[in-house]
């Protein structure tokens, strides 16, 4: 089985759960003997060439700016024997704001002007289309049109790559890769499976971006099968995008087991200070509900002063949230760490007494699994897909800040609760493996072949 997989982020270049999911899934697929060609639209720095280039996992770490530990590289080499990576010089990055995106695309455009693409053996019609989809300098007002042509440029490169590759099925992750998936599918005639990690309704509530919605809808209708990360997401796909239920399968995410974590978790016993730590780890955006976290924090602090609230992550609501904490008079109790990488994530989990995910709408939510994997008890919103698979966690409606505070305080006040949640939770999370998800994906591929 060979899979042509279209993604948009991959560790260590990630900004959210999608990269983690792609990492875990492809690794598990590799273990099942499925060959995966992974195409990533990654904004490359100056020393990378702009034409499409085949990169090995080690080569794909190229950008200097990022520090990648040796152990990670070794791990990649060993576990991803069946996965190869293709990078496309694109400004696409997951979760960017329009402004950021515009900035990025300008960088790339300057790079592109210096070089010409030299490729051979491409169908003239496609070649023509590739020319057509060459990026144009963005006009000032319409960022969405930039996004649109950017996605098509990615699609064009994906097609160019695809005709050189041999594969059985196309697997596209989230909306930015759907047009590429459709294009590759129509050029090669191979079946398309799309994987919905998130929908526009999760990210933007009712204020959906029509362009993105249209792309999502087209992708869902063009696909032979749709993989949803939860029943919550499956229901949105059916009710909001007009898809027949029989076409949509639920495949829950997994979590990667890391032997290191447990040893470290044991180390922390006995060395903790008397101050309790409640952790929010995720993008600081509307979707993740950071303001509900703050409102609950205020209520907690009214009862117990000896608590610190750590907000790890960045996002477009960061400044508002910092201001909000200050206005509430709890600024000194709320710490902002910015975006955390690798070891720092591990460290913050080790410090935490409780992990809270107050998401307003969370298609799945891998972070709670990672928290449990790090022996941290979790409190998640009922409006999350992961609530469907976890039983040994605390659950609360995201808007019910009173109950959220009640449960946070209970974990801090009653050690047996923390103990029981941790013991059972860690046991439960060990059953949620990527291998299971990969097997389900394989079954779905077989169904469309």
């Amino acid at each position: 089985m060979r899979v042509f997989m279209l993604g948009w982020e991959f560790p260590p270049f990630i900004s959210g759960g999608l990269g983690t999911a792609c990492h875990g899934l492809t690794k598990a697929m590799s273990g099942l003997g499925i060959e995966v060609t992974f195409v990533v639209p990654k904004a490359v720095n100056s020393d990378s060439s702009t034409h499409v280039k085949m990169l090995s996992p080690l080569q794909c770490q190229a950008p200097k700016a990022c520090s990648v530990s040796k152990s990670y590289e070794e791990q990649v080499e060993e576990k991803f024997s069946n996965v190869s990576f293709r990078h496309i010089p694109s400004a696409l990055e997951a979760y960017t704001t329009p402004e950021y995106y515009k900035h990025k695309i300008e960088d790339i455009l300057t790079l592109r002007s210096k070089q010409t693409i030299t490729e051979e053996g491409i169908d003239p019609a496609i070649e023509h289309w590739l020319h057509e989809t060459n990026p144009v300098v963005p006009t000032e007002e319409h960022y969405s049109s930039d996004m649109y042509c950017e996605i098509h440029r990615y699609a064009a490169y994906a097609v160019r790559l695809a005709i050189q590759e041999d594969f059985d099925v196309i697997h596209a992750h989230d909306w930015m890769t759907y047009p590429a998936g459709i294009a590759v599918s129509s050029v090669t005639g191979k079946p398309l499976v799309i994987h919905v990690h998130s929908t526009e309704f999760d990210r933007s509530g009712e204020h959906v971006n029509q362009m993105i919605y249209d792309i999502e809808r087209r992708g869902m209708h063009a696909a032979q099968k749709i993989i949803a990360v939860s029943h919550l997401t499956r229901n949105i796909i059916i009710s909001r995008y007009g898809i027949l239920g029989e076409k949509v399968e639920v495949v829950y995410n997994g979590v990667e087991q890391n032997g290191e974590n447990r040893a470290l978790a044991f180390n922390r016993v006995g060395i903790r200070s008397d101050e309790k730590i409640v952790l929010f780890l995720g993008r600081i955006t509307m979707q993740k509900g950071p303001e509900y976290f703050l409102m609950a924090a205020r209520k907690v602090l009214e009862e117990d002063e000896n608590v610190k609230f750590v907000i790890a992550g960045t996002g477009d609501m960061m400044h508002r949230i910092i201001e909000m904490a200050a206005q509430m008079g709890i600024g000194h109790k709320v710490l902002f760490t910015g975006f955390l990488h690798g070891k720092d994530v591990q460290k913050v989990y080790e410090m935490a007494d409780l992990y809270v995910m107050p998401s307003v709408s969370e298609p799945f939510g891998i972070a709670p699994l990672e928290a449990l994997n790090h022996d941290v008890p979790v409190l998640i919103s009922k409006q999350s897909g992961v609530a469907e698979v976890l039983t040994h966690v605390l659950k609360v409606d995201f808007w019910d800040v009173n109950e959220m505070a009640n449960k946070i305080l209970a974990v801090l006040k009653y050690p047996p609760l923390q103990l029981t949640l941790r013991e059972h939770g860690n046991f439960e999370v060990r059953r949620l493996r990527w291998e299971g998800a990969a097997e389900k994906c394989r079954d779905i591929y077989q169904a469309v072949l």
Partner: protein, 406 residues
Amino acid sequence: MPSVCFYFQVHQPFRLRHYTVFEESPRYFDEFKNASICRKVANKCYLPSNRLLLDVIRRFEGRFKISYSITGVVLEQFKKYCPEVMSTFDALAQTGCVEFIGETYYHSLSFLYSSDEFVAQINKHSELIQQLYGQTPRVFRNTELIYSNELAETVEKMDRFDAIITEGADHILGHRNSNFVYRPPNCKRLKLLLKNYSLSDDIAFRFSNPDWKEYPLTADKFAHWVNRANGNGQCINLFMDYETFGEHQWEDTGIFSFMSHLPEEVLKHPDNSFMTPTEVIDTYDAVDVVDVPRVISWADTERDLSAWLGNAMQSNALHEIYKFEDTIKQTQNEELLADWRRLQTSDHFYYMCTKYFADGDVHKYFNPYESPYDSYINFMNVLGNLRQQCEQSLLGDNKKTLCKTS
């Protein structure tokens, strides 16, 4: 020869209302939920079952007999929320064919933590039964049939019970079966009546299970199984939750018609009879000693305490509640004492069980909470407030005495 001995357990806990750590009100129980559940179960089970059994008893003119163990907490609720249930139990009591069994008033696990409290609750229950039905219980059953040698010794010392009812667990019986009267070691007076769990569960759990090879269970088939004990047993102890009839097994499963036909099928065999527990122990001598050094119960397949004491939350909650027994008794405040005792009802700890939580089975069906964690949080918040009320009450008393002395 075998005498069929029915005992039905009647119980409903006082369920707690949603109680956050921010609450200050000393009202802990969910009146609305308790009233509606009580009425619902009354209509589905207690009333139709009582009427049916009353009818059967009258029809057989003294040849059909049953016994009940009704907790104090459910009687309080009947009185409050559906008094008609009280009158049907009263009618049953008047037939002379119904025995009432003694237990802890609050359906508590007090035996494991405080023998003072255990004895006090048994006495309170017996007084209520005497007052309502004119009988002083002579047979005792502990909450969830929790039992050990030690419990037998404690009950023997009370000097007013003749027998204890418990589970006929395989590991305490060994090669023996439950169809005889036994006795505990180190006890002179007490006898033991052991539940025939196989036949009891055929009615209580398997009755409506279409995958069971004996499905459907008919009265004559069951009577045939009873007859098989001829020559190898004196009594067949069928102990089960009364809610089996109409609530666990719904009316459309045919459970009521089964019960209505069972007596005549059993009595077709001239050697068979129905007896109350007291009649059984008055008729038959104990054949052997059953040694139970470790605590048993009738719950789950483990027949142990793990449903109430299986995780850190449960043991913490239980320890916390019994830890302030002295303080609460010092206040001499009847309301606080009653609330404290209502919190001892075993159901509160059962809700905290994480054993089968993920699989979602029988434990979940009876659980008013979404998760065992929610129930622990709620319970601990209530307990925290009760402790505060206690302290305030004692502080107030101190002030009063100070005022008086000055």
